[in-house]
Amino acid sequence: MTKTFAELKFPGRLIAVEGLDGSGKSTQIYLLKRWMEWQGLKVFFSEWNSSDIVKAATSKGKKRELLSPTTFSLIHATDFADRYERQLVPLLRAGYIVLCDRFIFTAFARDVVRGCPPEWVRGIYNFAALPDLTFFFKADLDVSLNRILDGRPQLKYFEAGMDLRLSSDPYESFRIFQGRILEQYLAMSTEFKFLVLDANQPIEAQQSVVRELIASRIDLAAFATEVSHAHRASPRPAELMPAAPAKV
């Protein structure tokens, strides 16, 4: 699909964050969620690879190193489809702001680096509408690598791209793999109108840019929960009375 949820006339809006592991995108989307909750907005957060039903199979496949580029791609697409059809679409129909930590672009970048044909991957995900806003957190490769490698020295097999046989050293493999993913991201940046953020900046500086961009493009007040809306704005019965006959 080449349309956003707004273009498809959904009352809700979907905001996605993309970037390499260690780009700080999860921190940014978490702060975004807190900001929206603070304002009493209807907001829902969804993470890549988190569907209950599919996750068991995915983690088994990863643990036992059973996944090929094709099945890696398909099992993540299954996970995405489950969340998309059972959660995201209904919530967007109900007028929620949905925040996604990674969206289809993660698959477009990763699966292609793993050797899946780009048209095949894009074809599989074409049941999904595009996000209304996509933030891409662009950090220098070394910065994101160090964030991951400093904090968590034990790299997982697929995370390090070891299945690609780029290097027998997991750290070296991870570096090459992430570098290739970054190339893929940058290549699709214009096509999918990524809002590119400088992820080398301090957390607060990035967050304020993100909040400004969202506030300028989405009428956030329209997404207030019914309760707080009623609390703030509902007229008292006395005020309501005279207006009622006029509608008839």
Binding site: I53, L66, P69, L74, T78
Partner: protein, 263 residues
């Protein structure tokens, strides 16, 4: 059954053993990465048909006949992958997955078996007998209203088989065979998720008719051999043996025979 009239196998196991030539191979489309097609020997033979159409009986008979004639065989089928078969079973029991999800789950199962069973067996020169292939998966999804172009892209990873035998059985006979086997009808094989009818018998008849119609549509694209499945198991198998013999004898250059045209 009158044993005297029972047709015999086409060839005794004592004749010379046919060594199949390596014939050109291709995927329907994009294929899967990291496969050297020219290293695939063997043959891929698919048997399609509804539950109760006699697929497993036919495959068992074909296996016996092939092995008797000196060919190593391997059997694959849907929902048998190490990767997701258990999870798929669980999900189906609760009927909790939406259609795109279920479709992709089945595709994952298929891809896993393609890469880990079918392709390695072919590489080793086995005759692979597939109890259903991508066509059943596509037909099921088409009946449920999914987009054909989307499905064709999804299954463009599939290897083009050397033959596809579609056992065509009338719904009336199918329903009798299902009762004879289990004294009941399967929820999914009756298409109960579609809400065609609250009556399971009605739903089964309607669903199987819809499936047959989709198979007929797919036949024009993929060129299955349609096998009259209303006959006795022995009669059907004799025809399958004859057709399999042709597949085994196929020459490197041969372009004759079934489903090698692109969709």
């Amino acid at each position: 059954m009158v044993t005297d009239k029972r047709p015999k196998s086409r060839k005794s196991s004592n004749g010379p053993i046919v060594v199949p030539e390596r014939t050109p191979r291709r995927f329907y489309g994009h294929g899967v990465p990291n496969v050297e097609l020219n290293r695939l020997a063997g043959r891929l033979i698919v048997v399609e048909g509804a539950d109760g159409s006699g697929r497993s009986t036919q495959i068992a008979m074909l296996t016996r006949w092939l092995e008797g004639n000196g060919h190593a065989t391997a059997q694959v089928g849907l929902k048998r992958s190490t990767l997701v078969s258990e999870e798929l079973d669980q999900a189906k029991k609760g009927n909790i997955l939406s259609r795109t999800t279920l479709s992709l789950f089945y595709a994952t199962d298929f891809a896993d078996q393609l890469e880990n069973s079918i392709l390695p067996a072919l590489k080793a020169g086995f005759i692979v007998l597939a109890d259903r292939y991508t066509y059943t998966l596509m037909a099921r999804d088409l009946v449920r209203g999914m987009d054909q172009a989307w499905l064709e892209n999804l299954y463009s990873i599939a290897l083009v088989p050397d033959a596809v035998f579609y056992l065509k059985v009338s719904p009336e006979i199918l329903v009798q065979r299902n009762f004879a086997k289990d004294f009941g009808l399967d929820y999914w094989e009756s298409g109960m998720d579609l809400g065609l009818s609250r009556d399971m018998f009605d739903s089964f008849m309607k669903y199987q008719a819809l499936m047959a119609a989709q198979f007929e549509r797919l036949q024009t694209t993929y060129g299955f051999s349609i096998i009259d499945g209303d006959r006795s198991a022995e009669e059907i198998n004799l025809e399958l043996q004859q057709k399999t013999e042709q597949v085994l004898a196929r020459k490197r250059e041969a372009k004759a025979g079934a489903p090698s045209r692109a969709p």
